[in-house]
Symmetry: C2
Subunit: 119 residues, 2 copies
């Protein structure tokens, strides 16, 4: 069946959550949002492109930082309201300079920092 | 620092997305939503508990199906607006009977089914 972005379920703002996973290590890197055109751009360019809610514009991951995400696989969940992109991540996925955004763990009621910036 | 669920950022409905990842295989299993009390219940019981938007009630994963998620690690992202729960998944995470919800891949413009139901 041909993929049609119109068949996905978007929220009231026309957005769908996209989880980025490192294709090599399996680490979950980040979660951001795409709209229909960001999905089309991601699939066409193989450069993962989100929709920036703060800037209200396309956010080609790594365009300024160089920390790009090359698309390896594009997946849709059973409810068609969430995406998973497997990527080749260059450098840090997180704006804090860490490899991934989920570097804070809650352990016995305390927040524990699992990773330091790599850049 | 003590973890306080009040310090997280929730959407207008009081919800925050939670990604579930298999602690053993690294597979991303599903994405669902939690509210503040679901987070507290998850941390206290170690049984992953979401907020069901359709039923407007707590959704203790696997309560009826037996396909439970035992919490292994609870992580917060850099913006404090997304959660990652590492879990020991019993059986299928997906309501379709598949191990995970992201079983549809888009390849050369076509949808490809990557997995069949295991249950």
């Amino acid at each position: 069946m041909s993929f049609d972005p119109d068949t996905l379920t978007y929220n009231d703002a026309g957005l769908i959550p996209a989880i980025a996973q490192d294709a090599e290590t399996g680490d979950v890197l980040m979660m951001a949002w795409m709209n229909k055109e960001a999905i089309q751009r991601t699939l066409e360019t193989r450069r993962v492109t989100y929709w920036s809610r703060s800037r209200q514009w396309f956010w080609i991951k790594g365009e300024t930082s160089g920390h790009t995400q090359e698309l390896v696989d594009f997946r849709i969940d059973c409810d068609r309201d969430c995406l998973l992109v497997l990527v080749n991540q260059t450098g840090a996925a997180c704006h804090t300079g860490r490899r991934n955004c989920f570097f804070t763990s809650v352990q016995n009621g305390e927040e524990v920092e699992l990773a330091k910036p790599i850049t």
